[in-house]
């Protein structure tokens, strides 16, 4: 991390700028220091307790690594990696499942046309992930609903509504229900204003946080359904029912 810079001395009061004193790097990511003509810049480094990498960090790393290997080894001693019948191109198992991390996609494929489920949505997801840092996200660190509450509420509800209708049209209840829940939780702080507690915390989450959370819940729900609850013909099957 950067050494902390802090403006020192009186700020220049100007109509365009408002100087603020804050040492929290998270709250105020970009900083400008204004210096008067003859004042020499003095940088004060904030004191933070430091420790030697060796052994403090390295030993912890080694412990973590060893614990991980131990866990893996125990897993490997008791659970064998699956090996089914030899590949038989003439017989498609029912259902034919992709590796588990693609089962969310396969589940999508069950609802949407292949072009949407197999190409558009995953591509959108990857692009969205890549561009996250390039949006000026979380510049406003105040409560999401503090300003323009009405406007934001309408926007959020509109997006959630359109999304829900689309999902309803395709009968994608597996996505619809979490979407509605997430949207409901998201807008709750807009009506019940609290500065502290869970609601206050939820209210201070930025928009990107909500989108990411929604995405993660979607991924988990879809993958779980595809992995555990799908049987022959991709029909709903309880996991304790054995498929042969």
């Amino acid at each position: 991390m950067h050494g902390m810079l802090n403006s020192y001395g009186g700020g220049l009061m100007n109509a365009d700028f408002r100087a603020e004193k804050n040492s929290d790097a998270k709250a105020v990511p970009k900083r400008i220091a204004f210096m008067k003509g003859r004042t020499s810049a003095r940088v004060r480094k904030e004191e933070e307790e430091m420790v030697m990498t060796v052994p403090h960090l390295v030993v912890r790393e080694v412990i973590a690594f060893m614990l991980m290997v131990i866990a893996l080894a125990l897993l490997s001693l008791f659970f064998n990696a699956p090996l089914e019948w030899i590949a038989n191109p003439e017989h498609t198992p029912n259902p034919a499942k992709a590796p588990w991390y693609f089962l969310g996609l396969q589940e999508l494929l069950h609802y949407f046309p292949p072009i949407v489920a197999g190409v558009v949505l995953p591509a959108l997801a990857v692009v969205a992930l890549i561009v996250i840092p390039y949006f000026r996200i979380n510049v406003k660190r105040e409560n999401l609903w503090e300003q323009d509450r009405r406007q934001k509420l309408i926007l959020v509800l509109a997006v959630a509504g359109v999304l829900s209708i689309v999902l309803l049209l395709y009968n994608v209840y597996a996505m619809l229900i979490p979407t509605v829940i997430v949207a409901a939780v998201m807008v709750t702080p807009a009506f019940l204003r609290q500065s502290g507690g869970v609601l206050g915390w939820l209210g201070s989450r930025p928009l990107s946080w909500w989108i990411m959370t929604w995405f993660v819940i979607m991924v988990i729900v879809l993958t779980a359904i595809g992995t555990l609850f799908r049987g022959p013909e991709w029909s709903w099957t309880w996991p304790w029912k054995e498929i042969y």
């Binding site: 430091m50 699956p82 693609f102 890549i130 840092p133």
Partner: protein, 236 residues
């Protein structure tokens, strides 16, 4: 006994390998980081609060650790595996029944691979929720996302190699998804990937090469950059 041990630690060969004794002073500890190739990814000193486990949950480190485990077990498995339709499945059986600890190796590799996909994903979530992608680390986030995609691809290409029903149809379903890419592009990509229109001998060889050479090397290069940038941006 003690003398001979001391003689050993004083021999030139020993000292050429271990230049220093146990680093007991802060100076030698710092030197250990400076002069050691592997420790060099770390700064000599770190902030005390970042040493705390819950600071990063160690997910990045564990991903790297899993990668090491995968490389080691993978290299050993390569000794017994032949990427051909006739032999691949039999080699799996031989690993299970004949190779000493063969089943254990394969289990390790398999479970570590699954674990890596999950842990890299969790790592990504951690980075997002702690806001660690923010400038100036935005490009490292992009590299991280690419590394996640590579992790999934590595796992996916390895999935075919045992050549059992699970592998065959898992890959068939996957490549059929690729086919839905429009403008005939999907067909081409899947053809390129499989070396044909069906999952067969060509696909097996291609997946093998991707799995054992192309993707790991690419991932290693990206991991180098990833770690380097983490260090340069002041992370642990």
């Amino acid at each position: 006994m003690k003398e001979s041990l001391r003689a050993l630690t004083r021999s030139q060969a020993w000292r050429s390998i271990f230049r220093h004794g146990l680093p007991l002073s802060n100076r030698t500890r710092a030197e250990a980081v400076f002069y050691n190739f592997f420790l060099h990814v770390h700064p000599a000193k770190v902030r005390k609060r970042s040493v705390k486990f819950t600071y990063t949950w160690g997910l990045g480190g564990l991903s790297a650790g899993l990668f090491i485990v995968l490389v080691l077990t993978g290299a050993l498995l390569m000794l017994y595996y032949r990427p051909s339709v006739q032999q691949a499945y039999g080699d799996m059986k031989d690993l299970q029944f004949v190779v000493s600890s063969g089943q254990f190796l394969r289990n390790m590799h398999r479970w570590a691979a699954h674990a890596m996909v999950a842990i890299v994903f969790l790592h990504m979530l951690r980075v997002f929720y702690t806001g660690s992608y923010r400038p100036p680390k935005e490009f490292n986030w992009v590299i991280g996302v690419i590394l996640f995609v590579f992790t999934v691809l590595l796992s996916y290409t390895g999935y075919l190699l045992p050549w059992d029903q699970l592998a065959y149809w898992g890959i068939s379903v996957g490549t059929n998804m690729v086919r839905s890419v429009p403008f005939g592009l999907g067909e081409r990509i899947s053809y390129l990937l499989l070396g044909g229109n069906i999952v067969g001998e060509n696909a097996l060889v291609r997946f093998y090469v991707l799995h054992c050479f192309v993707l790991p090397v690419a991932a290693m290069v990206l991991m180098g950059i990833h770690f380097w940038r983490v260090r340069k941006d002041g992370g642990v």
